[in-house]
C-alpha cells in the first residue's frame, strides 16, 4: 500500500494537450496519474485522494490559478506537505516560493521525470 501511495501524482494543467502528454509520459514510467484542469478541480481531487506523492502544477489557469491553489494547499492539514513542482511558461523564482521546484515551459521531459523520481520513488 505504501509503495502504491508513493506513486500517485496529480497534474493540474489547463491545456489538454500538455496534460494528456504528461499523463502518458508518467504512466509509461509506472506512476498513477490523476489530472485536473484548474485549481478548484485540483483541490477536489487532492481532498478525495490525499496519498499523492507529488503535484505538477501550471500557474496560469482559469477559475483558480496555480498560485491560489498552492496557497490553499499549504494551509490545509494532511495535504500541506505534498511537494509541488511548478511547470509554467511564466514560472520564476518569485512566483514559485514554497514550491519544491520549478521549470519553464517548454521543458525537457527528462527534467520533469527526474523531479518526480526524486519525490515518488
Amino acid at each position: 500500500m505504501t509503495e502504491l501511495c508513493s506513486k500517485n501524482i496529480l497534474i493540474v494543467e489547463d491545456d489538454k494537450e500538455i496534460r494528456e502528454a504528461m499523463k502518458d509520459a508518467l504512466e509509461i514510467e509506472g506512476y498513477n496519474v490523476s489530472v485536473a484542469s484548474n485549481g478548484i478541480e485540483g483541490l477536489t481531487s487532492l481532498r478525495a485522494n490525499n496519498n499523492t506523492c507529488m503535484i505538477l502544477l501550471d500557474l496560469l489557469m482559469p477559475t483558480m490559478s496555480g498560485r491560489e491553489f498552492m496557497d490553499i494547499v499549504k494551509k490545509e492539514d494532511i495535504i500541506c506537505s505534498i511537494p509541488i513542482f511548478i511547470h509554467s511558461s511564466v514560472a520564476n523564482k518569485e512566483n514559485t516560493t514554497g514550491a519544491a521546484g520549478w521549470i519553464k515551459k517548454p521543458a525537457d521531459l527528462s527534467v520533469i521525470l527526474e523531479a518526480v523520481k526524486g519525490h515518488c520513488s
Binding site: 494537450e17 500538455i18 511558461s89 511564466v90 521543458a107 520533469i112
Partner: protein, 509 residues
C-alpha cells in the same frame, strides 16, 4: 483744556484781556494748529473768511489764505466748484468727504500744477454753541497715490492689450483667487457672452471630473502663495470636445509679501497629450500582446516537445505511438494557427484585402464539425441545434475560425458552465450565425471598440483570462471580407450575442 476765547481774539493774538495761564494755552493750541503736518484751515461765516490756514495748507494751495475771504483766495472758476460744497456743509452740518479731487493749483512762482487732493469739509462750531459758525477744512495731497494708480491702470491696460494678441487663454485673478479678467481667446473657446462681473467663465467649460482637483490645487497655491499649475479639460464650444489644457498662474506679491493679484494662462496641450497617451497605450498593448503571445505560443510548443521526447522512450503500443505522433503534428498546427492569426489581424488592421477561397458548403455540417471539435475541449455546454441542408458559397476556413473565436470567447468570458448556444438562420439573401452566452454584459462603451485590434474590454482585462485582443478583429475582418458584418448585443437580461451576417452566396457579390 477748555478754550473760551473767540476765534478772532485768538487769531489776532489780542490776548491782553486774558490771564497768563489762558494765554499760554491759546499759544499752545495755535502752535499745534499752525505746525500740524496736515493742511488745515478754518473758514468762518457765510462769506467763508479764512480765520486760520496753516503752512501746509498755504503751500498746497499755493496762496496765503489767512485773513482773506474765499473770493480773494480762489478764482471764480474754483469758487464755482467749492462754494456749493461749503454751503451744503454750512447749512446741513453734514460733513463733505471728497476723494481724489483734481485741482489745478499754481505755486508761488505762478506755475500751475495738476494735483489730486482728498478733501474733508467739517462743520465748525464755537464753544458749546450748536450753531455752525464756519467750515473746518482738512486736505490731504494724494497726487502721488493717484498717479501711481493711473500708472498701474495704464500698465494693466497694456497687459490686457498684449494678452489679447496671444494665442493662449490669459486671465487675471484677485488677491483671494477670484478670476476677474479673461482675454478674447477664452470667449472664442468657451462661447457665449463676454463675462459679466462675477461670472466664472472657466466654470462654464471645465470638465466636471476635473473640478475638485482644480479647486484644491488653486486653493493650495493661494494658501502657499506659490505657482499654480494644473492640467485640466475645457469644453470647446464649437466642437463640443473636451480638450486638455495646462493652466499656470503666478501670484504678484506686494512689499508685505501679500498677494496683490494673480496673472495666468492656459495652453491647449490636447494634441501632445493625446499623442503621448496613444504612444503609452501602444506600448502597453505591445507588451501585453507579446506577453500573451509568448505564453500562448509556448503552450503548443511545450506539448509538442513532451510528445517528441516521449517518442525516444519505450512506448508500449503502436496505437500510442500514433497518438503521440499526431499530437506533435496537432500542436505544430496550433502554433502555426496562432502565427496565421497575427498575420491576418495585421492585414485587417492595415486595411488590406483578404484572400478568400469561395466554395459551396453545407453550412449546417460545417458548423456541426466546428462545434464537435470544441465540444471535445469545452464539453457539452456548447449547444448547436442543427437544421438540414443549408447551403452557402463562402470560405470554409474563415467561417470555421470566426465560429471558433466566438465560441472560445463565450466560454472564456461567459458565465461558467452555462450553455453557449450557436444558431444558424437565414435572413433574406444572408445567413446569420449567432453565438450566445450568459453572464456579465459588456458595457456600452466597450461594445463600440470591442472589434478593434488589440482591444480587450475593461472587464476582460480585469479577469483571469488571457488574450491578445485579436479574436474579434479576425471575426470582423473575415465577415467584412465576405461582404458582411459582425455585431454584438449585450444586456443583463438577454446575455451576450455575437452575430456574423454574411451573404449566403458570395458568387453574386
Amino acid at each position: 483744556m477748555l478754550i473760551k476765547i473767540p476765534m478772532q481774539d485768538l487769531l489776532s493774538l489780542e490776548l491782553h484781556n486774558y490771564n497768563s495761564e489762558d494765554k499760554s494755552s491759546f499759544k499752545e493750541l495755535r502752535d499745534f494748529f499752525m505746525q500740524a503736518p496736515v493742511p488745515l484751515a478754518i473758514l468762518k461765516g457765510p462769506e467763508y473768511f479764512f480765520t486760520l490756514s496753516n503752512l501746509p495748507y498755504d503751500t498746497l494751495t499755493g496762496r496765503k489764505a489767512m485773513g482773506k475771504n474765499i473770493s480773494e483766495v480762489f478764482s471764480p472758476d474754483e469758487i464755482k466748484h467749492i462754494l456749493p460744497l461749503l454751503d451744503a456743509v454750512y447749512k446741513t452740518g453734514v460733513p463733505y468727504i471728497g476723494k481724489d479731487i483734481p485741482f489745478n493749483l499754481a505755486d508761488e512762482h505762478g506755475h500751475v500744477h495738476n494735483k489730486w487732493i482728498d478733501v474733508a469739509y467739517h462743520p465748525f462750531r464755537e464753544n458749546d454753541d450748536e450753531s455752525i459758525k464756519g467750515i473746518f477744512a482738512v486736505f490731504q495731497d494724494v497726487t502721488d497715490r493717484v498717479i501711481a494708480k493711473k500708472i498701474m491702470a495704464k500698465s494693466e491696460e497694456k497687459f490686457k492689450q498684449l494678452a489679447n494678441t496671444l494665442p493662449q487663454m490669459v486671465w487675471t485673478a484677485t488677491d483671494v483667487g477670484k478670476l476677474d479678467w479673461y482675454n478674447d481667446v477664452w470667449f472664442e473657446y468657451v462661447g457665449g457672452d463676454r463675462a459679466q462681473p462675477g461670472d466664472d467663465i472657466w466654470a462654464r467649460a471645465i470638465h466636471p471630473e476635473d473640478l475638485d482637483a482644480v479647486t484644491t490645487a488653486w486653493q493650495e497655491a493661494i494658501n502657499t502663495k506659490t505657482l499654480y499649475r494644473k492640467e485640466v479639460r475645457f469644453k470647446h464650444a464649437k466642437s463640443g470636445e473636451y480638450r486638455w489644457h495646462v493652466c499656470q498662474g503666478s501670484p504678484i506679491l506686494n512689499e508685505l509679501e501679500q498677494i496683490e493679484k494673480w496673472t495666468g494662462s492656459c495652453n491647449d496641450i490636447h494634441d501632445q497629450k493625446t499623442a503621448f497617451e496613444m504612444l503609452e497605450l501602444e506600448r502597453d498593448v505591445r507588451e501585453r500582446v507579446i506577453g500573451a503571445l509568448t505564453h500562448d505560443l509556448r503552450t503548443p510548443l511545450a506539448a509538442a516537445k513532451i510528445n517528441a521526447q516521449l517518442l525516444t522512450r519505450k512506448i508500449p503500443t503502436e496505437e500510442m505511438l500514433n497518438k503521440v505522433a499526431n499530437r506533435i503534428s496537432n500542436n505544430i498546427d496550433r502554433a502555426d494557427k496562432m502565427i496565421q492569426d497575427i498575420l491576418d489581424a495585421s492585414q485587417i488592421k492595415a486595411g488590406e484585402k483578404m484572400n478568400l477561397d469561395i466554395k459551396k458548403y453545407d453550412l449546417n455540417e460545417l458548423i456541426m464539425v466546428t462545434v464537435d471539435d470544441l465540444q471535445d475541449i469545452h464539453g457539452a455546454r456548447i449547444v448547436f441545434n442543427s437544421n438540414e441542408n443549408f447551403y452557402g458559397h463562402l470560405d470554409a476556413s474563415a467561417l470555421k475560425r470566426m465560429i471558433e473565436n466566438l465560441i472560445n470567447n463565450a466560454v472564456k468570458y461567459g458565465k461558467e458552465l452555462a450553455p453557449v448556444t450557436v444558431k444558424l438562420k437565414q435572413l433574406k439573401d444572408s445567413i446569420v450565425i449567432a453565438v450566445h452566452n450568459e453572464g456579465v454584459p459588456i458595457p456600452d462603451d466597450d461594445q463600440k471598440t470591442i472589434f478593434d485590434a488589440y482591444q480587450r474590454t475593461h472587464s476582460a482585462k480585469k479577469g483571469v483570462q488571457r488574450g491578445w485582443g485579436l479574436g474579434l478583429t479576425l471575426v470582423k475582418g473575415f465577415a467584412e471580407a465576405h461582404g458582411g458584418q459582425a455585431i454584438v448585443r449585450s444586456s443583463l437580461q438577454d446575455g451576450t450575442t455575437f452575430s456574423i451576417i454574411i451573404p449566403q452566396d458570395l458568387r453574386n457579390i
